[in-house]
Amino acid sequence: MQTETKGEHFHPPSIIGTILRKLHIDIPLFIGLFLTCALSFLILYSASGQNVALLIRQAARIGIAFVVMIVLAHINPRQFYRHSAMLYVVGVMLLIAVLVVGLVGKGAQRWLDLGFFRFQPSEMIKITTPMMIAWFLSGIALPPKPKQLLMAGIMIIIPTVLIAKQPDLGTSLLVASSGAAVLFFAGLSWRFMLATGLVLTSLAPVLWHFMRDYQRGRVLTFLNPEADPMGKGYHIIQSKIAIGSGGIHGKGWLGSTQSNLDFLPESSTDFIFAVFAEEFGLSGCLGLLILYLLIISRCFYIAVQAQDTYNRLLAGSLTLTFFVYVFVNIGMVIGVLPVVGVPLPLISYGGTSMVTLLAGFGILMSIHTHRKLLPT
C-alpha cells in the first residue's frame, strides 16, 4: 500500500517538495480546494451583483480559513487524539452556554459574542464530535458492542439535540451524520443500520410533532412547492427556473437573469448552486461535481493511508460529512430535498462554515503528512 519510504534514492529531492513537506500541505488536496475556492470567487462575483466589497470580505475569510487549515496541518494528529475528549466536552459546554444566552436574549441564538469576534460553538462541534467518537471507538475492539454503541449514540445525540434547540436543524443533522459516519466506518453492522433506519422512519410523525412551524412548512413546501408559488414555494420554484433555464451550456458568466434581477433569493449563500447552474449549464454542473468527487477521492485516499484507527475513522468521517454537505445543499437547490440551511461547501458566501470546512481538511492534511514512513 505505502508508496513512500524514507531515503533519497526513492524520492528525488526538490526544494519545493521539501518546503511543502515542511508546511505539511497535501498538494493534490490543496489544488482541489484552491480550484474550488477560485471558482467560488467567479460565481460570487456574478451572484452578488458584481459586488467587489463582498468579494474582498470573502477573500479575507478564505485567507483566515487557509491559515487555520495550515496551522492544523502542522499539529500532530496525536495531539488531536489526546485532546479529543476535552475538546468535545468544551464544545458541548459552549453549546449549553449558547442556549442559556439565547434564553436570556429571548430568540434563536447560534453564536457567542466574544467581543472581538463571534464564535459559533456548533461549528466547532462539527469537528469535535467525530473526534470524540473516533477517540472512543479507537480504544475498544471493533465492531463496537451494543453497550458501547449506546454510549457512542449518546455522545452524538447530546450535541445534536443542543443544536436542534437553537434551532439550527441543518447543522444538527450534519453533526449527527458526522458522528454516524464514524460508526459506519468503525464497522457498524448493516442489520443495525437498517433497524435504525426503520425506527427513524417510524419516528417521523413524532419528529413532525416536535418540529417548529417554519420547519413543517419547509417539508410541506418541499413536497409540493406549487401550492404557494408566491410564498413558501417561491424559493424553490425560482431556483428550479434558474437551473432549468441554464440548459446544457448555460447563459454564460454574468448572464444569469434569475439572480441578477433578484428573482432568486439568497443567490450568494445557500442558493448559489442555482446561479452556477444557470450560468454554466449542465456541463458546468458536471464539472463542479467532478471537482467535488476528486476532493472526496483524495480524502478517502488519505483515510485509507492513515496509520491508526483514530486517524482512519476521523478522516473517513470528515470526508463523508463533506459529501453530505455537498449533497444536502445541491439536493435542496434542485428540489429533491427539503430546504435546510446548509451552504454549498467552499462556494457559498459566508465565513464560519468555510473555516470549519478547511479546519477539517487541515486535520486530514495533518493525518497524511505526519505518517511514520516505515519501509514495508
Partner: protein
C-alpha cells in the same frame, strides 16, 4: 482514564475500514448520479419550460395607451376632447403601511370615505405594481398641498393624465354620450390586449358606437424588470396609434337653439338635412351633464338623475315613442291619393263627429261643431278629424300599414346610435300576435288620425318628413360625417338608396296643403310665417295622453299637467328646394301649433338664414 486494549485486531479493523470506504465511495457515486439525473431532467427535459418561465419572470410588456379620438361637430367645433387632469395615485406594493397612509392622505386632502372604499375595491382587482387612482381631478391647490409633503408619502404620486371632457355638456349628452371607467362586464367583451392600458370606454352615444375607431391601437413596450418590478431597460417598443377623430353632422349652434327653445319643457327635436340625411339637431330635454360620468359620478347624484320624474337620462329623440297625432294626416292623405280612393278636391261634410254604420259610438272631431264642408286641403290645414276617419275607413288598415311602412314608421331608422326604438305601426298580424285579438274597424279610424296603437319616435317623424319632402327618396339619417385617422379618412358606409314610387302631383297637393298649415289664413301653425322669405310646409299634431270619455269634455286647465296632450310638429323648408326637415315633440305641451311649431321655426330660420344680420356669409347647408 483506564483503557482496555483487549481483543483488538488492527488488521481486521483495517480490512473492515477499507471495505467500508469502498461502500461509502460507491454510495457517493450513486448519489452523485442521482443529482446528475435530476439536473438532466431540469436542464434538458425541462429546459424549454423553465426558459419560458425565466423570460416571463423578467420581461413585462407595458401597454402604451393611445390617445382617444376627438369628436367635432360639422363645423369643426370640439364636442369631446381630452384634457390633462391631475390624479393622486398609489402603488400599494411600494407602501409600507397602506392604512396609515390612506388616513394621512384623507386628513390632508379631505377625501371622502366613499372614495377610500372605491380605491380599496379597485385595488383588489388591480395587477401587482400598478398605479391605482385614489383621487381624480385635483385642483391646483390640492396638487400644491400634496407636493409639499410628497417625500413623506413613498409610493404615492400625482400624475397628469388625459381625461375626456365635453365642453358642451348638456347639449351633446344624448348624442355624443360619454365614456366611463371600464367595468367588469365590459372587460369580458373587450379585446384584452388592446385595452390593457386603457381605463375608459364609451358607455353610450357616439362614444360607444364608434368605440373601436375612437380608441385607436395600443402600443407596447417590452421592458426588462427585476423581481421588485422596477424597469431595468427597454427591449423593444411599438408606438400607439391614436384614435380616429370623428366629425359629426351635428351643428352645435342649431343644437343650442333647439335646446334653449325647449326651455321649461320636456321633449325632443330632430332636424335632418334632406339631401344628405345629415342629422343637424338631435336634442332630448331635459339633458344632463355627461362630465361627472367620466370621473365617476357619485351614487347620490346618479340616483337623483335616475329617479327624477323628468327622466333626464332618457333619450327621447331616439327612444321616446309617442302617438303621432295629426302629424300622420299628410301621409294618410297621400295614401288616399296614391290608392285613388279620393281626389284632392273631393269634399266631405264634417258635423263634428263620425259614426260607423250600425254603431252608436261617436268618433269626435277636435272641433265640437265640426268644420262643415271640407276637401283634403282643408282637412290638412284645419286638421279635420272626421275627414280622416272616413278616409281611413275606406283605405282599410292593411293599406294604411303598407303605405306608412314605406316611410319608415314602425322600424328603426338605422341611425348610428345604440338603443333606438322602432315605434309601432299596427296591423292585423301585429294585433293577432301581440294581443291575440282581431282587428276592429274602429281602430282603423283612430289610426287615421294618429291615435290608438300607433307610436313614432321623433327621429322617425323627422325622417318620414324628410322623405316626403324628398319626393319619396328615402332619407337615411346618420350622425358621423367622417372618421379621420392618421392613415385613412372614411365616411360611414351608406346604405343602398331606396325610393318610394309616388305620383308627383299627389305629393305636390299634399305639400300645398302643408304650406297652408303655415301660410294659410286658417292654418294651425300660422305663427311661423312672419319674418321669412321662403315657404315652410308643416303639420301640427296633438297627441292624446288621456282618453276623454264619451260624454265628457276635455278641459285643459283642469287636467293634471302629466295627462295633458303632447304637442307635435313636423315640417320642412324651403318648399321649392327642400333642405331641412324638423320634427318637434313637446311632452304635455298642449297644442302643436302654439308650442311645438315655433321651436321648429327657429331652427329652420337659423339654418336657412344663418347670418340674417351680417352680409356676405355663405349658408352652411351646402
Amino acid at each position: 482514564m483506564v483503557r482496555i486494549y483487549a481483543f483488538k485486531d488492527p488488521l481486521a479493523e483495517n480490512r473492515m475500514f477499507l471495505s467500508r470506504v469502498v461502500v461509502a465511495f460507491i454510495f457517493i457515486i450513486l448519489l452523485m448520479f442521482g443529482l446528475v439525473a435530476r439536473l438532466i431532467y431540469l436542464q434538458i427535459t425541462g429546459h424549454e419550460h423553465y426558459s419560458t418561465m425565466a423570460k416571463s419572470n423578467r420581461i413585462k410588456s407595458v401597454p402604451l395607451p393611445p390617445t382617444r379620438g376627438i369628436i367635432y361637430d360639422r363645423e369643426g367645433r370640439v364636442l369631446a376632447e381630452n384634457r390633462p387632469s391631475y390624479s393622486l395615485e398609489l402603488v400599494p406594493e411600494q407602501i409600507k403601511d397602506l392604512n396609515s397612509t390612506l388616513l394621512r392622505l384623507q386628513s390632508l386632502l379631505n377625501i371622502s370615505d366613499e372614495k377610500i372604499a372605491q380605491f380599496l375595491k379597485q385595488k383588489k382587482r388591480a395587477k401587482h405594481f400598478s398605479s391605482i387612482p385614489l383621487l381624480l381631478r385635483l385642483t391646483d391647490e390640492e396638487v400644491a398641498k400634496f407636493s409639499v409633503v410628497r417625500p413623506h408619502f413613498p409610493g404615492v404620486d400625482v400624475y397628469a393624465r388625459l381625461v375626456r371632457y365635453y365642453p358642451y355638456g348638456f347639449l351633446t349628452a344624448h348624442v355624443v354620450g360619454y365614456v366611463g371607467r371600464i367595468n367588469e362586464k365590459e372587460l369580458k367583451n373587450l379585446p384584452v390586449s388592446e385595452y390593457r392600458g386603457t381605463h375608459y370606454v364609451g358607455k353610450v352615444g357616439i362614444e360607444k358606437i364608434y368605440e373601436r375607431q375612437l380608441h385607436g391601437q395600443t402600443g407596447y413596450s417590452e421592458i426588462e424588470t427585476n423581481a421588485q418590478g422596477r424597469a431595468i431597460k427597454t427591449i423593444s417598443s411599438s408606438d400607439p396609434e391614436p384614435g380616429a377623430n370623428i366629425y359629426l353632422t351635428l351643428d352645435i349652434d342649431l343644437q343650442k337653439t333647439a335646446y334653449d327653445a325647449l326651455q321649461g319643457h320636456k321633449g325632443a327635436v330632430v332636424a335632418i338635412e334632406i339631401k344628405t340625411g345629415d342629422v343637424l339637431v338631435f336634442i332630448s330635454r331635459p339633458g344632463f351633464d355627461p362630465n361627472p360620468f367620466v370621473y365617476g359620478i357619485s351614487q347620490k347624484a346618479y340616483n337623483a338623475l335616475q329617479l327624477s320624474e323628468d327622466r333626464p337620462l332618457f333619450n327621447r329623440a331616439l327612444r321616446g315613442q309617442y302617438p303621432p297625432g295629426s302629424t300622420i294626416k299628410p301621409f294618410i292623405g297621400l295614401a288616399g291619393l296614391e290608392y285613388n280612393i279620393t281626389e284632392f278636391q273631393h269634399k266631405l261634410y264634417c258635423p263634428g263627429f263620425y259614426q260607423l254604420p250600425k254603431f252608436k259610438h261617436k268618433y269626435r272631431d277636435w272641433k265640437k261643431w265640426g268644420h262643415g264642408l271640407v276637401d283634403l286641403n282643408d282637412a290638412i290645414t284645419q286638421s279635420c278629424d272626421v275627414y280622416f276617419y272616413d278616409l281611413a275607413r275606406t283605405l282599410g288598415i292593411d293599406r294604411i300599414h303598407t303605405f306608412l311602412q314605406k316611410f319608415g314608421f314602425g322600424e328603426k331608422t338605422g341611425i348610428d346610435l345604440e338603443g333606438e326604438k322602432s315605434g309601432l305601426l299596427p296591423s292585423r298580424a301585429w294585433k293577432r300576435k301581440a294581443k291575440n285579438l282581431p282587428w276592429y274597424p274602429g281602430e282603423t279610424l283612430i289610426t287615421g288620425i294618429g291615435q290608438g296603437f300607433t307610436q313614432v319616435t321623433p327621429l322617425q317623424l323627422a325622417r318620414a318628413t324628410a322623405t316626403l319632402a324628398n319626393q319619396g327618396k328615402v332619407v337615411m339619417p346618420h350622425l358621423a360625417a367622417s372618421i379621420i385617422n392618421a392613415n385613412y379618412a372614411t365616411a360611414p358606409q351608406s346604405e343602398p338608396e331606396k325610393h318610394i314610387t309616388l305620383q308627383e302631383k299627389n305629393v305636390q297637393d299634399i305639400v300645398s296643403a302643408m304650406i297652408n298649415v303655415v301660410h294659410g289664413e286658417r292654418g294651425t301653425a300660422r305663427t311661423l310665417r312672419t319674418g321669412i322669405n321662403y315657404l315652410i310646409a308643416g303639420k301640427t299634431g296633438t297627441a292624446q295622453v288621456f282618453t276623454v270619455k264619451q260624454e265628457e269634455k276635455y278641459k285643459e286647465e283642469e287636467l293634471d299637467i302629466k295627462l295633458r296632450d303632447h304637442a307635435l310638429f313636423m315640417s320642412f323648408a324651403p318648399v321649392n328646394d327642400p333642405q331641412i326637415a324638423v320634427a318637434v315633440i313637446v311632452e304635455n305641451g298642449g297644442h302643436g301649433g302654439s308650442v311645438a311649431a315655433p321651436i321648429a321655426g327657429k331652427i329652420m330660420k337659423q339654418f336657412l338664414m344663418p347670418h340674417a344680420g351680417s352680409e356676405g356669409e355663405v349658408a352652411i347647408a351646402n
